[in-house]
């Protein structure tokens, strides 16, 4: 209730600021732009946005591949406290046993646990849904915090939904065995998206996201190689990236849906990446929902990446995440509605499996000298209750 009162005060304050700005810029370009925006806002439908349904989800997740085993539980709870406010909390545990190629060739395998907790709030005001979120992630040598706000607004009688969002994250990078090592890294994420109803069967979504990073962006453990000799990795302390994704989803046949997604990514480290995903979903009877998808990802290497440098540079990395590689994913998901009472509750159980294959074009296994590649299996088992 206190939260509602606070948001109402915030809305009043924002209205006051807007009125002040309009007055101050009456003869200026600003007033005209605001006038135009006001006209567009006036077309918004009077139906109102919906709060997310109350929900309790549990999941077990597992990733096995390339010498890494990561698994653990996750949980999400969502509960409305009034007609316009819903609160949520999440918990995600990653128990990691790491014997990846980087680790086995330069250090000793290790085990560690990451715990991420999150809290959030959704607030509906007319046709707008405003979401606030905060997360805290904790590992023995890395702490990450973030706060974010997202707003979604329906336009043109619900034909178009526009989303804007912002997240600020601040991390502390530490190092095992070196208590004096502690470096900050800040991240700013800006999101803009729109979903458009094309026909009674087709939807299209365009998402744009810009991310800026500043701080310690390397790994304190990883090494680069110069003429085969190991030297500490040095990454630039800033990075700025852009991503644009287009997604089309269509209802096909009596009980099916098909989707296609493409994302183009580029950043100031000169990495360019393409992601393409195709998926098909199908109801089988009244209780089963089946999904199958294929994903292809490829990227070019960063300016300062080399498998083995031939001269010493200011920035040097042998992080294979910054190398030239591609990966292919083939996945399937099945969910079964175990209990259902229309308008009251629904409980479903589901499982998802994805097989990933990574192929590196300029990263070698230094034990064999061969180009590196590996396969991974990703698995999730979940129970979801809507009420």
């Amino acid at each position: 209730m206190a939260a509602t009162k606070y948001l109402s005060r915030l809305a009043t304050w924002l209205r006051g600021r807007l009125r002040h700005l309009l007055h101050a810029g009456r003869d200026g370009r600003f007033a005209r732009i605001v006038g135009l925006l006001g006209g567009v806002l006036a077309t918004a439908s009077a139906e109102g946005a919906d709060l997310p349904e109350d929900q309790a989800d549990l999941m077990y997740h597992s990733y096995i591949g390339g010498g890494v085993v990561a698994n653990g539980p996750a949980m999400l709870i969502r509960k409305s406290i009034s007609d316009s406010v819903s609160l949520n909390a999440s918990y995600f545990v990653d128990m990691v046993s790491n014997a990846s190629i980087d680790v086995v060739t330069t250090a000793s395998p290790y085990r560690e646990q990451r715990v991420e907790t999150g809290v959030g709030m959704d607030y509906v005001y007319r046709d707008a849904l405003i979401s606030l979120a905060a997360t805290h992630s904790n590992e023995p040598d890395y702490i990450a915090d973030s706060v974010g706000i997202d707003a979604a607004q329906d336009f043109f009688g619900g034909m178009t939904t526009v989303n804007v969002g912002y997240t600020h994250g601040w991390d502390t990078v530490m190092k095992h065995g070196d208590p004096s090592f502690s470096q900050p890294a800040d991240h700013w994420q800006y999101r803009l998206g729109a979903t458009q109803v094309l026909t009674a069967r087709w939807l299209m979504t365009l998402n744009l996201e810009a991310i800026a990073d500043d701080g310690y962006l390397a790994s304190p453990y990883r090494v680069a190689r110069v003429f085969g000799a190991a030297v500490p990795e040095v990454d630039p302390s800033t990075r700025s990236s852009r991503a644009a994704q287009l997604r089309v989803v269509g209802s096909v046949g009596a009980n099916g849906a098909v989707r296609a997604e493409y994302r183009y990514f580029w950043d100031t480290w000169d990495i360019h990446a393409n992601t393409t995903e195709l998926g098909y979903s199908q109801y089988a009877g009244s209780r089963w929902l089946l999904d199958a998808y294929a994903r292809y990802y490829s990227q070019g290497h960063a300016l300062f990446y080399s498998n083995d440098f031939t001269s010493e540079m200011q920035y040097m990395s042998r992080n294979r995440q910054l190398s030239t590689f591609n990966d292919v994913g083939l996945g399937a998901k099945a969910s079964y509605t175990a209990l259902r009472e229309a308008g009251r509750y629904e409980v479903k159980v589901g499982a998802e499996f994805e097989r990933l294959s990574f192929h590196y074009n300029d990263f070698t296994d230094i034990r064999t000298g061969q180009l590196y590649s590996f396969n991974a299996n990703v698995f999730e088992l979940f129970v979801s209750a809507l009420f």
């Binding site: 999941m59 991310i211 997604e261 991974a376």
Partner: protein, 76 residues
């Protein structure tokens, strides 16, 4: 008319056309039953969607633009 006034008039006319008259929804609310079905939501199960995103995020250089929010971590 000065170009500035023409621009203002054009902007006002656009605002009127776009805002005042409104765009008639060519798919009526009662025709959106299929669009509202959960099958049309790509990330309909938030936890598995978040895990998938996390798996890609820590292994690929590309990030963002997917509509799924993840927290930071030092997982790579």
């Amino acid at each position: 008319m000065k170009p500035r006034r023409v621009a203002t008039a054009a902007l006002m006319a656009t605002a009127f056309l776009v805002g005042g008259c409104g765009i008639e929804p060519w798919v009526k609310p009662y025709e959106r039953e299929r669009l509202a079905d959960p099958i049309m939501q790509v990330n309909r199960d938030p936890l598995p969607a978040k895990h998938r995103e996390h798996v890609y995020d820590v292994r690929e250089a590309a990030r963002g633009g997917t509509g799924i929010q993840g927290g930071g971590c030092g997982c790579n």
